[in-house]
Chain length 225, copies 2
């Protein structure tokens, strides 16, 4: 075996690098360990190829870890699927929480700001702007209820962040239509998910952005005086 030969050379190099730096930080956001690397790889690969078509081996290669590491952190591929959905929820949750549109004063402006923001990030590589949980939902809704629920939670919890502004907008503008804030919030997500499918079908984001513009026009027609 070459193990005993290669080891003493590689070991002293990797050892005393960056331990004291991480110490004072309360909770390191992203330790570059195997679990995190696998989840990160999953976010990209699954959006690119779909859940079923993405193999455990491919995930391991992309993450630069071995299969042993994979099954140390996840009991099964499906368990990684659940974790990936939750990881997606956390990642995108933080991303949208930091977005600038929250600073606007008017609820309608914030809402339109959100839509504009969503439209602006539809750009470049398709796998980069499409939605992990929307993709996974399509594939596993009938076969894996746990992944499906994790995906549903991700979509609906994101939609729920819009409800206060929608509710305020309805009250503010005197819109007491025959719909609930929750249903309109869900509708915005439906448009986005559908827009992603059109983008995938046509191979570019233009159709998707155009659809989001229609959604914006709808909101303006609802809430503009």
């Amino acid at each position: 075996m070459t193990k005993n030969i290669a080891k003493p050379i590689a070991k002293p190099i990797a050892k005393p690098i960056a331990k004291p730096i991480a110490k004072p930080i309360a909770k390191p956001i992203a330790k570059p360990n195997a679990k995190f690397k696998l989840l990160d790889a999953a976010l990209l690969l699954i959006r690119e190829r779909g859940y079923t078509a993405t193999t455990v081996d491919e995930l391991c290669v992309a993450a630069g870890v071995t299969k042993g590491a994979f099954f140390h952190h996840f009991k099964s591929k499906d368990e990684l699927g659940i974790a990936a959905a939750q990881h997606w929820s956390a990642t995108t949750g933080a991303f949208f929480a930091d977005a600038p549109y929250h600073n606007l004063n008017d609820p309608v402006e914030r809402l339109i700001g959100y839509i504009d923001f969503r439209k602006d990030i539809i750009e470049g590589d398709i796998a980069q702007f499409t939605c992990l949980v929307g993709t996974m939902t399509q594939e596993i809704y009938g076969s894996n209820p746990e992944i499906r629920d994790a995906c549903a939670a991700s979509i609906l919890s994101h939609a729920a962040t819009l409800e206060p502004d929608i509710e305020a907008a309805m009250r503010d503008r005197g819109v007491d239509g025959d719909f609930t804030p929750a249903s309109l919030a869900a509708h915005t997500q439906a448009v986005l998910q559908g827009a992603f499918i059109l983008a995938k079908a046509t191979g570019d984001g233009a159709v998707a952005r155009s659809s989001v513009e229609h959604l914006k026009r709808y909101l303006l027609l609802l809430f503009e005086e």
Copy 2:
């Protein structure tokens, strides 16, 4: 081998059943041959499980044919995928062409009629009302351009059937907005595709119907005086 023993028994039973009935019909719409049965099985199974997760063996069992028959009619699984998309296009094309909303006189009414019709058929089992080509697109857009193009053609050609009415509605109601008939037609499909994802995520069609209602409200706001 049991082959020579079992055969003479099974053969005479299946032989003289129903040949003369199909003969006088000029072009049988749906010959119950292996190819058609496989395509029909594909429509259901792929919508239920996704394209990748649906195996050739499962398709053969569902269609009641053997693998030999499968690869006699399709060079590969991917070729069946393309054929399934085209079969879907033909099937749904005929279905919508026969729908009652076409008899309405006003283009806006026809448009709203279409939306109502789409809403009404969101009912019952999820695999029954969701879209084959939308599902397939999500999975193979990056890996199989031919299937993707077949799916794109299916979605866009269906959207194109709405364009004349949208164009007439815009002319009629004096709506010369900053959007094209094609973009609004595409938007309707985006909403539907997204609605299907929400239905899959939540496990029932209510959210989907609600989203289609928002689409209807948008069209009414656009075209109503």
